[in-house]
Subunit: 390 residues, 2 copies
């Protein structure tokens, strides 16, 4: 098994990209990644996207993107695991390079979500839930995560006002971090009151507890570490030392405990074991904060905080810049945006920048080990990667 390095990264400005189509957005990010690595040719492409079929009427995405990137006849594969599609694409590209199938491989992700109206976007996203049992009864993701939030508050007997503050702290922190990320969709400082008084979406989740609908792409160049040492000298080398992936019941109501993201726990344990490190060793973390409650549950499942204590930790500043465990220095899905297929790739790009020491005003001091957690649906899929500065 060959060790794998990340040697090029590219993200475009995320947001409402009305003037660009899906292929334009991806090619933009892909060319940035190729420029960052200093290559004009790739040998294979793995691309994560959740539903280009429902969002823009385009399947066969990997062929399209290899074509528009001028890279045919390279092999190209699209990978889908709902909102964890990007992380899964990374895993597929990692397998390819680790196996020795190809040397210079692109892994990327893209979603163009704003070409349909809000109802159609909510429908498309809801296809990550169980169509026959959840969607059929009207459930969409704000509602499912609201149920997780209510179950969490009840299970751990947290006074409602305290719990509401815990959720708000996650949003305030991530938007504060996002102010320092030029690629983020939303650059706006939020106060606790802004979050707590925002429009209700699904009780207790309000507008700023929810990640937005976003057009965006992200891409990376990966290669064997030995090749990185000799041929890719633009940046410090960052290596992938652990990967883990796991599933849980797709339907939230089938879980033994709605407040515990079991798939993240299992994926993280696999990744820690492969990397030979533990939760305490991680310096910088990107998690899948599709909703504020998700960040709280995930930081517990990763082993950062005890069960029921993730909200307290957020409120105490443990996950903020300068805290013991900085989480979502990029701004997270909350501020950076959530073009679902691209999210998992952008998380790993943030780690690469942090571990290179190129994260600018959001740089975590002495970051040596980073972890990215990407999640599909209400936790039906999780993918975890651990990266290290060589």
């Amino acid at each position: 098994m060959r060790d794998v390095a990340v040697v090029g990264v590219g993200v475009n400005k995320w947001g409402e990209l009305w003037e660009l189509s899906l292929r334009d957005i991806f090619v933009d990010a892909a060319l940035k990644a190729m420029g960052d690595a200093g290559v004009d040719k790739i040998e294979a492409l793995y691309v994560g996207s959740m539903s280009p079929g429902l969002f823009v009427g385009q399947e066969h995405l990997a062929s399209l993107l290899a074509d528009y990137l001028g890279q045919c006849p390279i092999p190209a594969m699209r990978v889908e695991a709902a909102c964890a599609s990007g992380g899964m694409a990374m895993r597929a590209g990692w397998m390819d390079v680790a196996l020795g199938l190809h040397d210079v491989v692109m892994v990327g992700g893209v979603e163009k979500m704003l070409d349909v109206d809000g109802g159609a976007a909510t429908y498309a996203l809801a296809t990550a839930a169980d169509q026959e049992w959840e969607c059929y009864n009207g459930a969409t993701f704000p509602g499912l995560y609201a149920m997780m939030a209510n179950a969490y508050q009840a299970k751990y007997k947290i006074p409602f006002e305290t719990f509401r503050d815990q959720l708000a702290h996650v949003a305030v922190k991530n938007h504060a971090n996002g102010l320092n990320n030029p690629h983020a969709q939303y650059h706006m400082k939020l106060s606790l009151d802004d979050v707590k008084k925002a429009t209700m979406v699904a009780d207790p989740l309000r507008l700023y507890d929810c990640s937005p609908i976003t057009d965006g792409a992200a891409a990376m160049i990966v290669c064997p570490v030995e090749l990185a040492k000799t041929k890719f000298k633009n940046h410090p080398i960052v290596t992938v030392i652990g990967t883990g992936a796991a599933t849980d019941t797709i339907a939230l109501h089938d879980r033994a405990d709605m407040t515990w993201i079991k798939s993240t726990e299992v994926a993280a344990q696999q990744a820690y074991k492969m990397a030979g490190v533990g939760a305490n060793d991680i310096n910088v973390t990107e998690v899948h904060d599709c909703f504020t409650i998700a960040e709280i549950c995930v930081t517990e499942a990763l082993g950062y905080f005890p069960a029921g204590k993730g909200g307290e930790a957020a409120m105490a500043g443990a996950t903020a810049m300068g805290g013991a465990k900085p989480v979502n220095t990029s701004g997270g899905l909350k501020s950076k945006g959530h073009p679902v297929g691209a999210t998992g790739i952008a998380q790993i790009i943030e780690l690469a920048l942090q571990l290179r020491g190129e994260a600018g005003p959001r740089q975590v001091n002495k970051a040596r080990l980073g972890l990215a957690q990407n999640m599909g649906g209400s936790g039906g899929s999780s993918v975890v990667h651990i990266l290290k500065a060589l």
Copy 2:
């Protein structure tokens, strides 16, 4: 790199499965594969499906299927490459086992296409073409393959009646083979006249030149060859000795030559090289006959016949049972049906049965080496696998 074996196969009866949902169909095939191998637990799942989002409003497919198969928390990944999704899923599962990530892995494919009306199914399939340049102008796949057929006839200056006979021979042969496949959607013997006088779909392609719309699934268990030798003794061992994948322009009009499936040529050359064999060595072949013209072009791109001679070869019986190069002994997409995500897996299952000597009345005598060619769109993606009886 570990050698990979196929140790369990499962297909259900394909057709119009009104009483079953997507998950039912897949679980049925998956349990058959597990039963065939003699396992009740798998370690990872790779599933190919083209557009469960457009066909049944369900993405996040791999999580759903792992769940309904009772296999959580195993990692599960959906792979998409339009109609080559099944072959691509095989490639992903092969990478996993070859790398040593897991030992007992399921690769499968599924599509439930009949829950939408014919127009919506044609729309969903057309998303495998270039949405902005082909679909926008009204092109669907019968039209695109009809253009390939007309270009082929013109390029090789074949008299129309002769060419029409060549196409018809492919349909007649595949439907004759399908009579011996209990899982096939259509069991009907066709005459040349039946094919040549059928309803026109897109000139020169008539009804029986086109593969049907189908509900179906297929699944296999793959594992390292060394493990197969010690633990899987239900059947003779079949090994995967070559894999190749390639892309071409997604849009047909961007090709240098509309009659030459370049992606298949490139993928086949990769697979031949890895396997250390050539076109002449292959005893039994499954190709992607989504339309009769496709089988003719593909047998040329695989190197079986010279360019422009594939139709003549079909007419001369070279690709029939008992011919020098039997192709689509399963009945092909034409007779067996074409649930797009499942097709690439079912092709490999047919090879496994042939190489085990378990193909019953359609058994090819002394079959030792088999090749499966799976294709997306009008050739924007191709995947080729070569299997061998150990």
